[in-house]
């Protein structure tokens, strides 16, 4: 799985596991359900959940089948149980420690991104190859040199690594993260990374997102 997109197809991929698109929707359902909980709603129908996200109720029901038998026809899903089931399904009923490599503006934005903390993603280690940045403290975390990666990652228990360096440095950083023991890499550099099959990879190429937007706007034609 070398890019963020090639596994995105239906609800399940070849192995019978939920597809990335379905997993992405689970994240969105979770956000909406937590809103419902705050409003004191105890039951929710697939129609309500779909409407809130612009998805058909059939798609909602299909996505939620991964989580076991939760809803009852005509009665709907119990909101609190569904929240728990999605969190377990996504693997976020636990905390994940995250290491970030490259302490630029993107890393600083990620450090202040409230959503991460709320979802149990704790940034526990920062690395940068710039001697001017090593030793600095950013949002309470000390910036370590790349040489300390194996030691710091072992000590902090970071299982996920974020690549937030320029393209030309990205593969080397990813290799170092893997050598240091991370099990998953989130890559922001606009390059295709090659990782061992035992390590999971999700790539966020911001230019691809803008290109998709340009394409959609163009498809709409002139106003």
């Amino acid at each position: 799985m070398s890019t963020g997109d090639d596994a995105i197809r239906g609800v399940r991929d070849h192995d019978g596991r939920p597809s990335r698109a379905s997993v992405g929707r689970l994240s969105l359902y979770l956000r909406r359900l937590e809103g419902f909980l705050r409003q004191g709603l105890l039951k929710v129908s697939s129609g309500q959940l779909g409407e809130a996200l612009g998805i058909t109720d059939a798609q909602v029901r299909k996505d939620l089948t991964h989580l076991g038998h939760l809803g009852q026809p005509g009665i709907g899903y119990p909101v609190r149980e569904l929240v728990g089931a999605i969190r377990r399904g996504l693997g976020i009923d636990r905390d994940w420690a995250v290491a970030v490599v490259g302490v630029g503006n993107l890393a600083r934005a990620l450090l202040r991104y409230r959503g991460f903390q709320q979802r149990g993603f704790r940034i526990v280690a920062l690395f940068d190859s710039d001697p001017g940045k090593v030793g600095q403290v950013v949002d309470g975390l000390k910036v370590h040199p790349p040489e300390a990666m194996a030691e710091v990652i072992a000590a902090t228990g970071a299982e996920l690594g974020v690549v937030a360096v320029p393209s030309e440095a990205a593969q080397g950083v990813a290799d170092a993260l893997v050598a240091a023991g991370v099990r998953g890499v989130l890559n922001f550099a606009p390059v295709v990374l090659r990782l061992p099959s035992t390590v999971s990879l999700v790539s966020v190429d911001l230019t691809v997102q803008l290109e998709q937007l340009a394409f959609l706007v163009q498809m709409h034609g002139p106003e």
Copy 2:
């Protein structure tokens, strides 16, 4: 199309247009092809292109059918023509002017993201509601107050708007961008935005990306 995910299915969606997944892959092919061009390669096979991206050659051929009849069986695709066809197909054979609202770390990261310039995305306007930021010059661009949005967007010709503000401000900012005349919105706030159907929307929820990664790592099981 209210989220970045719900249209992601096969190669073509219900309207017979390429799906978002396919559009995303076109962006990746383009990156790879430009690399081939720099290496002096004139022809490329679907197999070579697929291998470079970890995609089957059948998928590559399917994706490229949108672009017209370009390749010949056993001969492959002419690299330069394919680059041009993808750029036209994606709507990036022209420049796009982009306005960014919210001048925090994310906006600063976007301003320095070299990929945007290379692909013809020019950030031409910055807005922030913080009086302490209004009037500042960031990477050569003056920060305008939200009240100036309609005027500045008309003057700069920005067609795409980037929402880089906290969640609670995102819908209001998106509405203001739409009222000011943008035709597409790239949203980084972790909320579902509601926009008129005439305006395209792509959402990048960074927590969703980390959740997908956690899910994949968990699926891999313990090492």
